[in-house]
């Protein structure tokens, strides 16, 4: 394998993020609101607007950053419910921070319900379903520009199943305890990062790891491992399990920063994978503008499936008919992405844009597993396909 040239990156993990004292910040906010009210002035709460139209692709940094638009809620009859709810949930979150307790969003939903049930005073706040309380939690985070994880609130994050014969992960726990996990001691059972993957310390067991591959389908990632790829190659294999969760995004970022190795993504050839999965992994998303800096891995390359793979191996494709509603939606998506997504509009990502144009022109889509049709008798066909592509620099 040719030596891989990768620009060296400064180590930057969440640990280096300036510590926020949310208790203090919240008090400050509350005091300002009280002051306004005492002067019969409507307090205004401002939060970063998390939407595609407020996203800018910073090609130097490599991820989506906010443009500067804010959503502001001025206290009035129409917003009094939202603001009351925000203060109510903020108080619960602050309680968790004080005691060190953590919760998922769903748990917070039920905790809120519990308060409302036991005290009729809070009844008017009642959340009809979890999406109501989730929206408030997101608003609080966007307002303080703080990660949900820093509020001790974790999602039940999917994906990130990781396999390697040469990786050691150290997790620092509370009170100076630590856990050291040697991934080579695991079989086909993965190591799965959760919650705050940026807190891990990573190192190679021996020398340097060659590369990391993130596979869209977790099942396919496991197939590669079961068939022996990690035994034959000095690499890390990660299963993304669809749209990368915060955990997957933070984990890939940690691998990128700490191990300083090339990372590749392999998935389906269609607009959904390109935007929702690959772009989110590489540059973050519009709804998480405040945390893309720590939850994206800008060095990830798109390994495939590439249009040229389809042509070279005559891979089986699905026609995307314009008549079928759900299929034509995927075509429309490709067009929308070209039009609205700042990531794909950047010159730096011209090659990805060309892939989108190819999709629109060909009206086809190709799945990551189609490679298995190249040689049905060879169980290592995908492994060989991927390795050859890495060695011949066949990626974007």
């Amino acid at each position: 394998m040719k030596p891989f040239k990768e620009e060296s990156l400064k180590k930057k993990t969440l640990k280096n993020r300036p510590k926020r004292d949310l208790l203090k910040d919240s008090q400050k906010l509350g005091k300002e609101m009280l002051k306004d009210l005492n002067q019969k002035k409507s307090p205004v709460l401002k939060a970063i607007k998390c939407s595609l139209d407020n996203s800018l692709y910073d090609s130097k940094k490599g991820y989506l950053v906010p443009k500067g638009k804010k959503v502001s809620s001025e206290l009035n009859v129409s917003s009094v419910q939202k603001i009351s709810r925000s203060l109510f949930l903020l108080d619960i979150l602050l309680g968790n921070l004080k005691s060190g307790a953590v919760n998922t969003k769903r748990e917070l939903y039920y905790i809120s319900k519990g308060f409302m049930k036991s005290k009729t005073f809070y009844k008017p706040l009642d959340f009809e379903d979890q999406s109501d309380s989730d929206a408030i939690i997101d608003f609080i985070c966007d307002m303080f520009e703080v990660y949900r994880e820093e509020m001790n609130c974790f999602a039940n994050d999917r994906g990130g199943q990781t396999y390697s014969k040469n990786l050691i992960v150290t997790e620092y726990l509370q009170k100076g305890e630590k856990a050291v996990i040697d991934l080579s001691s695991l079989g086909t059972t993965p190591f799965q990062p959760k919650n705050k993957p940026q807190q891990f310390e990573l190192k190679a067991k021996k020398g340097r790891i060659d590369y990391c591959i993130v596979i869209e389908s977790e099942g396919t990632a496991n197939t590669l491992v079961s068939n022996g790829m990690t035994k034959r190659h000095n690499c890390i294999i990660v299963g993304a399990q669809g749209v990368p969760s915060n955990a997957v995004r933070g984990w890939c970022r940690t691998i990128q920063d700490q191990l300083n190795i090339p990372i590749f993504f392999y998935g389906d050839l269609d607009a959904y994978t390109l935007q929702n999965i690959y772009r989110t992994l590489k540059a973050g998303s519009a709804s998480s503008l405040i945390r893309n800096s720590d939850f994206s891995a800008p060095n990830v390359h798109f390994l495939g499936v590439l249009p040229k793979d389809v042509e070279k191996y005559d891979l089986h494709c699905y026609e995307v008919s314009e008549k079928d509603v759900s299929e034509s939606r995927s075509l429309k998506k490709a067009k929308d992405v070209l039009k609205n997504d700042p990531f794909f509009q950047s010159k730096k990502n011209k090659k990805l844009t060309q892939i989108l144009k190819w999709l629109i022109k060909e009206k086809r889509r190709c799945e990551q597993q189609s490679v298995f049709s190249i040689n049905p008798k060879n169980s290592k066909v995908l492994e060989e396909f991927l390795v050859e592509k890495i060695e011949t620099n066949s990626y974007v």
Binding site: Q27, L34, L37, Q39, K41, V77, V80, L87
Partner: protein, 551 residues
């Protein structure tokens, strides 16, 4: 018409009763009632009497054939009554009417309806109509049975007896015994007809007893007997060439100039000199109508259309009027709010018409997806059949009611607990058929009705919006009561601020939140005041009317 012999006329109608409203046993009862009530109303108006009509419909037993009942239909009025000779004509002869081609907005026009009812009674029950009559100033009343000599189109009177009609000054009472079936509600229902008639006749006092339904009396809300406008001369723009030639034939001996000036409304010396400027020669003007050739007629006719005559006189068109309609619509039931519009007279299809619209929301719990009730009227007579092809229905469907706050699926009648009443009045209404059930949907008429509907819709929108604002205000007040204490409590929990600071904030919060509601309350207050003012104004007018115009 004149050429048809009388005998063939009666035979023709006897064979074709379905064409004039007797196509089914339910329709037969409705038509019998309708022709009688319409006649009473016409007769009262003609005589300047505020009508007081009593209706009684009863099931007397089984009808003469399967599935029909024997129904008695009794209608009594306080009109001028009829003498013997006229009774025979009116009830026993077709095409005997005092209203032929008079260019008036009366209900009956052709002298067909009531004779058809007599025919129906005679064909199904072998007896004509029983009529009681009392003429003004005559000491005694009389009653008589009118049978129809169908062969000769002639009424035959039988069993005439005179009697003392207790406490009756004058009037006519008709009693039909017919085969039929009674339908009370819905499109072709008797109640629908009676309520509709009351709506567009605010001066009508109506009592009715239908089958075993409780007796009901609808009081009059106006004492003003509409003066049926004098029949008017045709406006020059209300004619097509054929009409023009026929009209001219009645004035054959006059000079053209005289003909133009006397046989039309709105043609003056000034308009004749304008026509002269456009090429009408003095010679032609001096010629007698009889001696003018067809080519010249065509020329004169086209010249008429080059001149802008003033609009036809609205006097020939009778309108209920917005005030009276507003009063009357409240008789329909528990009305939440309503809007009424009376348009100015307008020439549509060469005829002057007045369109009136009343939209009312009933205070009943009706499923939102149920359609509105559409009441159609032509010359103040409810139209109850063939809704779909009627000009009125087409107009209602063409309006986007969602813009006014109602629900509606595209190009159909809107939904909700509303009554839409649309009345078209004109000396010459064009119906689609002889039974006068649907108004011909010409483009011009549909557009005129549409304009009226949209104006009424605008007014309705104000009410609906006001209602929405009220609901908003209530919601806002609730919000303040619910959330303000929580907000303050949470600020206290998070900041640990002093009681004094908290109390100050609380005052501030209530001040801020109530700003919104004060604004909304003021807007509502203004609207309420306006309604009160309007009511007060209408009230005083109404008393004025009773004082001065009581009959």
């Amino acid at each position: 018409m004149q050429k048809i012999t009388k005998s063939s006329t009666a035979e023709y109608f006897a064979k074709n009763l379905q064409q004039v409203g007797f196509s089914s046993s339910t329709k037969a009862v409705l038509t019998t009632l309708k022709e009688s009530v319409d006649n009473s109303l016409d007769a009262c108006e003609e005589a300047g009497i505020a009508p007081h009509i009593k209706v009684k419909i009863k099931k007397e037993g089984m009808g003469s054939s399967k599935n029909v009942d024997l129904i008695s239909v009794v209608v009594e009025d306080n009109g001028p009554g009829l003498d013997e000779k006229n009774i025979a004509k009116v009830f026993g002869e077709y095409l005997a009417s005092s209203k032929f081609g008079r260019g008036r907005c009366s209900r009956g026009q052709q002298g067909i309806g009531i004779s058809a009812a007599t025919t129906w009674a005679q064909l199904t029950q072998a007896r004509g109509v029983h009529v009681s009559s009392k003429l003004k100033n005559s000491p005694k009343a009389f009653c008589v049975v009118v049978n129809m000599d169908i062969k000769n189109n002639k009424g035959v009177l039988k069993n005439k007896t005179s009697f003392h009609w207790e406490a009756k000054k004058q009037g006519l009472k008709v009693e039909f015994l017919v085969d039929g079936r009674v339908q009370l509600k819905g499109e072709g229902g008797l109640i629908t007809y009676l309520e509709g008639t009351a709506l567009v006749n605010p001066h009508l006092e109506l009592e009715y007893e239908l089958l075993d339904q409780p007796f009901r009396k609808i009081e009059r809300v106006s004492n003003k007997v509409p003066k049926i406008p004098p029949s008017s001369l045709p406006h020059p723009h209300t004619m097509k060439l054929g009409d023009f030639l026929q009209h001219a034939s009645f004035y054959a001996s006059l000079s053209l100039k005289k003909f133009l000036k006397t046989a039309f409304s709105r043609i003056t010396d000034k308009s004749i000199s304008l026509m002269k400027e456009k090429g009408l020669t003095e010679g032609l003007l001096k010629k007698t109508v009889r001696s003018i050739g067809e080519k010249d007629y065509k020329h004169i006719f086209s010249l008429l259309y080059e001149i802008d005559f003033p609009k036809p006189s609205s006097q020939s068109v009778l309108a209920v009027g917005e005030e009276a309609l507003a009063e009357s619509i409240n008789r329909l039931g528990d009305i939440d709010f309503f809007s009424v519009i009376t348009r100015k007279p307008k020439v549509c299809d060469y005829k002057s018409v007045i369109v009136e619209v009343a939209l009312a929301r009933l205070n009943i719990k009706k499923k939102e997806e149920e359609g509105i009730q559409l009441l159609r009227f032509a010359n103040r007579v409810p139209l109850q059949f063939d809704k779909a092809s009627c000009a009125i229905t087409k107009s209602v469907e063409s309006v986007n009611w969602r813009a006014y706050g109602l629900s509606q699926s595209k190009k159909s009648l809107p939904l909700g607990p509303y009554v839409f009443a649309v009345s078209v009045t004109s000396p010459f209404i064009k119906f689609k058929n002889a039974s006068k059930e649907t108004i011909d949907a010409s483009e011009e008429l549909v557009e005129e009705i549409r304009l009226a509907l949209m104006q009424a819709g605008q007014k309705l929108k104000k009410h609906i919006r006001k209602e929405k604002n009220t609901a908003d205000l209530i919601r806002k007040k609730e919000y303040i009561e619910k959330f303000a204490p929580i907000l303050i409590q949470k600020l206290k929990d998070i900041t640990g601020a002093s009681q004094k600071e908290i109390e100050g904030a609380q005052r501030g919060l209530y001040a801020i939140l109530s700003k919104d509601t004060v604004k909304a309350e003021k807007a509502l207050g203004d609207a309420r005041q306006e309604v009160e003012k309007l009511k007060a104004k209408m009230g005083s007018r109404l008393t004025y009317k009773t004082d001065n115009e009581a009959v």
